[in-house]
């Protein structure tokens, strides 16, 4: 009986090693271990042996069964990996992949998203106000005198429409600052006793100029913060935060005196040049690049917004989206008009 079992084992081992596929492995398994398999039949016969022989032979039979099972499993998995390696030899990983569709967001959108993210982090609320606006919000309420040059036909676009008795003519907003007094009015209507404004207004603006550094339509982002005890130090803090977030931790900013109608004091904001790192080069002015204007909200503007300038102070800034985009490293576009040319060769770069 032991001899017979050993024969079965040897037979099985040689057959398993000859198998060429998982199907053949399975056939071999059935041949030996199936319901009518050779080993299964032999094990049934153990019951016919004398009682004293049964444990020994039974043990041997079980060992053989385990060996065969193990070999079948091993053979099956080695056949599987052989198959994989033969496929690997025909796979050319340098051929192009099947790509899912991928379009492009305009650079302006990308900049706006980044700017929005930075100011949201500081608790600014994003708003949207009219692009076609009353002269009142665009100029009068921003403390522009009637005869200010910005109100000339040479600088601002006017709409062909009868002026309103109170709000004046209709203009294309030359700056996002036209949202300032609207935002103040919104807050006064909400809660006149406790003014806390932190506005971010990003919008299309329009001015009558077109050259390599100007387009008739452009974008600005405007910040307005009004509350009790808001000071120049807060403007500086906000500005620094933006500059380091948007341009990188190595860039620094400064404010210096300037002049705007709707702020007093007024500042020009500079960012250290990313090309020369503030040393001074062909692209910058003594190491600095001008980013745009800012200042403490003029008390007359607060008054126009219905806010008491004795109780509240505030700061505001309005910077060009195109401008900060151009000031980013790697995007030195020599003609701003390219941004709005909608040349696909250009758009698909970003």
């Amino acid at each position: 009986m032991e001899h017979e079992l050993m024969n079965i084992k040897n037979n099985a081992v040689s057959l398993i090693l000859e198998t060429k596929s998982r199907e053949e492995v399975e056939e071999t398994r059935v041949q030996f271990l199936g319901r009518n398999g050779t080993l299964t039949q032999a094990m049934k016969e153990i019951a016919t042996l004398p009682k004293e022989e049964r444990p020994e032979v039974g043990k041997l039979a079980n060992e053989i069964k385990e060996i065969i099972e193990q070999m079948l499993t091993d053979r099956a998995s080695s056949l599987a990996s052989e198959k994989t390696s033969s496929k690997a030899s025909t796979l050319d990983v340098t051929e192009p992949g099947v790509k899912p569709p991928l379009g492009h967001l305009h650079l302006i959108t990308q900049a706006i998203e980044e700017i929005t993210g930075i100011f949201s982090h500081l608790g600014f609320t994003k708003v949207r106000y009219p692009e076609i606006e009353w002269d009142y919000y665009g100029f009068t309420a921003l403390n522009f005198p009637d005869d200010h040059p910005a109100r000339d036909d040479w600088e601002t676009f006017f709409i062909r429409q009868e002026p309103d008795i109170k709000k004046g003519g209709v203009i294309l907003t030359p700056h996002t600052s036209s949202g300032q007094v609207r935002e103040m009015e919104r807050h006064v209507a909400m809660n006149p006793k406790d003014i806390n404004i932190k506005m971010l207004n990003i919008a299309k603006c329009y001015r009558r100029q077109s050259d390599v550094s100007h387009t008739q339509m452009f974008h600005q982002f405007e910040g307005l913060v009004v509350g009790e005890g808001i000071s120049i130090t807060h403007l500086k803090g906000t500005l620094d935060y933006f500059v380091k977030s948007y341009f990188g931790p190595n860039r620094v900013s400064r404010i210096r005196p300037y002049h705007f109608q709707f702020t007093e004091p007024s500042f020009e904001v500079d960012v250290s040049c990313g090309v020369c790192n503030g040393k001074g080069c062909r692209l910058c002015k003594e190491g600095w690049l001008e980013m745009g204007g800012s200042g403490m909200v003029h008390p007359n503007v607060l008054k126009y917004g219905g806010i008491d300038p004795k109780k509240y102070t505030g700061f505001a800034f309005g910077w060009g989206v195109e401008r900060v985009l151009m000031m980013k490293e790697g995007i030195e576009i020599d003609d701003l008009r390219l941004l709005y040319s909608n040349n696909l060769e250009f758009l698909e770069q970003f």
Partner: protein, 644 residues
């Protein structure tokens, strides 16, 4: 407005240890921007940007005075030397009687004198200084006017007195269509309202504050001059200068408002120079007509306000020192400071904040700390009601569906405007004819972009932007639109419809589609509202334009959980023969009506009058038997199958 000044010229009125680089840097931080310093021969040239509120700094003397005020803040010594000017003594004055009839409504001050002179070229120093400041040197008579303007800050003019042929000048407003020829030989037709001087024969001899005229300009033969300084209404100058397009240095200065107190200084300095450089001799009375002397102004600001705006404590004594150094006369109490504004700052100093600016800038913005404003917002953030959230989401969705975003101009040319002209919002003063009308639709701009990118055969574009609609006497209505376009060979309406449907699916809204009446394509509906169209332009180009505001008003982040089914679905494909004209949407609706156990129906295939539908049957309460499904199938066939 930029001005270029030589370092050596500045130092004629300023004694300081500060090196040019320090002057440039420190003035930029506290006063006006010195944008560049460049070598000029053996000297150094400052390129300075002067803001419109500081015409007093458009001069060497003004800059020296300002530098002397701010440089000591950086611990460098700086002293200002005002120009030494002497008033001519009586016996100098000649007997030529010359009268000026002024209109005080037009001109605030006129200073003038007649002198005998010798015309020649200017000495090298004058020529160099003028050239460095970008003024062309002509002859000593004209150079002196420019040199005085640059030094003192007040524009001046010189006439050939003998060419005037008159003993009086009358200042008046021009009449419409009067013609003048400026000294550079250009002819202008006046609009009326310009300030001019006419001689006793009624001939216009000067366009005041802007440019002299050919008929009275000095020549190489000039023997006697009328040196003439006029200070007038800046608004009128701006208007004339801009409408005539004469942007002379004088005009650009005068339109910002020049201190009338400087007029007399300019006269004296000029007389001095004519004596030195042109053997000048005074031959008339000195005329000084000064009808509109500016009012003196004193501004008071409290200590508390200063601290609030600046954000740090600046001792009041420090504030006083700063204001005094800038030429203010200062008086202080324990809690406030009052300052009388110097004449050269009178036009722009009005309120307490103006004083605070002076104090803060000279104290140095760079000396202030940077603090973040307090984080306070009582406005709850409702993301699903935030239009910007949805806009970003939709833009990204389209990007990942292969669309490229474009930004086209809001103003378009007439051929890109849809609808009647008289309903359009129109610019009164367009810059060019391609940007005149505020657009009513986005698609025409997209088609233009396609035509400008003809080489691209496979294109997907989108834009989200406003369109504009006239609204009677109110502000025009701005509506935000989402438009897209696809172009490729054999483009299908269903490609675009699928995009619109999936967009809706992601925003939690369901659009319906009806055949459009006036074009090949569909009107898109959201509930009962028509919110846009899909338009098949040809075999290649299909576009859509949707009312974005309505879409995001319906967009939702709300999700609803349906319990997972415990019982398997039975799926089968069912072929039906129908009228070829019957819309598939109707058939699907009809199939669904046949049993609540039909979970989903979709079109699998379509050929002539045969349609194959993919139908999913499922129950929440039990395993469906083949018999139950067969029953429903029979019902569908009975209702929809068209007998052949």
């Amino acid at each position: 407005m930029n001005i270029k000044i030589l370092d050596s010229w500045l130092r004629e009125y300023l004694t300081t240890d500060a090196k040019p680089k320090e002057i440039a840097k420190n003035l930029s931080l506290t006063s006006i921007s010195i944008e560049r310093t460049e070598k000029w021969q053996s000297d150094l040239l400052y390129d300075i940007e002067v803001t419109t509120n500081r015409p007093d700094l458009m001069s060497v003397v003004g800059l020296a005075r300002e530098a002397a005020a701010v440089l000591p803040q950086f611990h460098t010594k700086a002293i200002f030397h005002a120009p030494k000017l002497t008033t001519p003594v009586k016996q100098e004055k000649g007997d030529i009687k010359f009268r000026i009839k002024n209109d005080p409504k037009l001109v605030d001050r006129i200073c003038a004198v007649v002198m005998e002179v010798n015309v020649k070229t200017s000495p090298k120093l004058i020529k160099d200084r003028l050239e460095s400041t970008e003024i062309r040197s002509l002859n000593n008579l004209i150079d002196i006017t420019n040199y005085v303007m640059r030094t003192i800050g007040h524009p001046t003019h010189v006439f050939d007195f003998d060419r005037l042929e008159t003993e009086s000048l009358t200042i008046r407003e021009s009449k419409k269509d009067e013609v003048i020829e400026t000294l550079d030989g250009k002819e202008y037709v006046l609009q009326g309202g310009d300030i001019v001087a006419e001689d006793q024969n009624g001939r216009i001899v000067d366009l005041l504050g802007i440019m002299g005229l050919k008929n009275s300009v000095v020549t190489e033969q000039t023997k006697r001059i009328l040196f003439f300084i006029d200070n007038m209404n800046p608004k009128k100058i701006r208007k004339s200068s801009m409408s005539l397009g004469i942007r002379s240095e004088a005009a650009q200065l005068n339109e910002k408002g020049v201190d009338p107190e400087l007029a007399y200084d300019a006269l004296l300095f000029g007389i001095q120079l004519y004596k030195e450089l042109a053997e000048g001799k005074i031959v008339s009375e000195i005329i000084d007509i000064y009808p509109n002397k500016p009012k003196e102004r004193t501004i008071t600001v409290t200590d508390e306000k200063i601290q609030t705006v600046i954000g740090v404590t600046i001792p009041l004594t420090k504030a006083e020192d700063i204001l005094r150094s800038l030429g203010f006369s200062v008086q202080a109490t324990k809690t406030s400071v009052s300052a009388k504004v110097p004449s050269w700052r009178a036009s722009e100093m009005e309120i307490g904040e103006d004083l605070i600016e002076e104090i803060a800038r000279v104290y140095g913005y760079h000396n202030l700390p940077s603090l973040l404003p307090p984080l306070v917002s009582d406005e709850p953030l409702q993301i699903s009601r935030d239009p910007f959230f949805w806009e970003t989401r939709v833009k990204h969705m389209l990007k990942y569906w292969g669309f490229t975003e474009i930004y086209t101009y809001s103003m378009v040319a007439e051929e890109l405007l849809e609808g009647p002209l008289n309903e359009a919002v129109i610019l009164r003063n367009p810059l060019d004819e391609d940007h005149v009308y505020m657009r009513k639709t986005l698609v025409p701009s997209m088609l233009q972009v396609l035509s400008e990118n003809k080489a691209y055969k496979n294109v997907r574009l989108f834009e989200i932007a406003n369109v504009y609609e006239k609204n009677g006497k109110n502000l025009p209505i701005e509506r935000r639109k989402l438009a897209g376009i696809i172009k490729h060979s054999h483009a299908s309406f269903y490609d675009v419809k699928g995009i619109v449907e999936q967009l809706g699916a992601d925003l939690g809204i369901r659009f319906s589609f009806k055949a459009a009446k006036e074009l090949v394509g569909a009107d898109v509906y959201l509930e009962k509202e028509n919110i846009g169209t899909i338009e098949e332009l040809d075999d290649e180009i299909i576009n859509f334009e949707l009312n974005f505001e309505t879409i995001i008003a319906h967009a939702t982040l709300r999700k609803k959980f349906t319990p997972l089914s415990k019982y398997p679905a039975i799926i089968e494909d069912l072929a039906l023969t129908v009228d070829a004209e019957t819309p598939t949407g109707e058939i699907i609706d009809e199939i669904k009506k046949q049993s609540p156990l039909i979970r989903d129906v979709s079109l699998l295939d379509k050929y002539k009058n045969k349609r194959t539908f993919h139908i999913v049957y499922q129950s929440d309460t039990k395993n469906l038997s083949n018999e139950e499904v067969a029953e429903i199938r029979e019902k569908i066939l009975a209702t929809l199958q068209k007998s052949q």
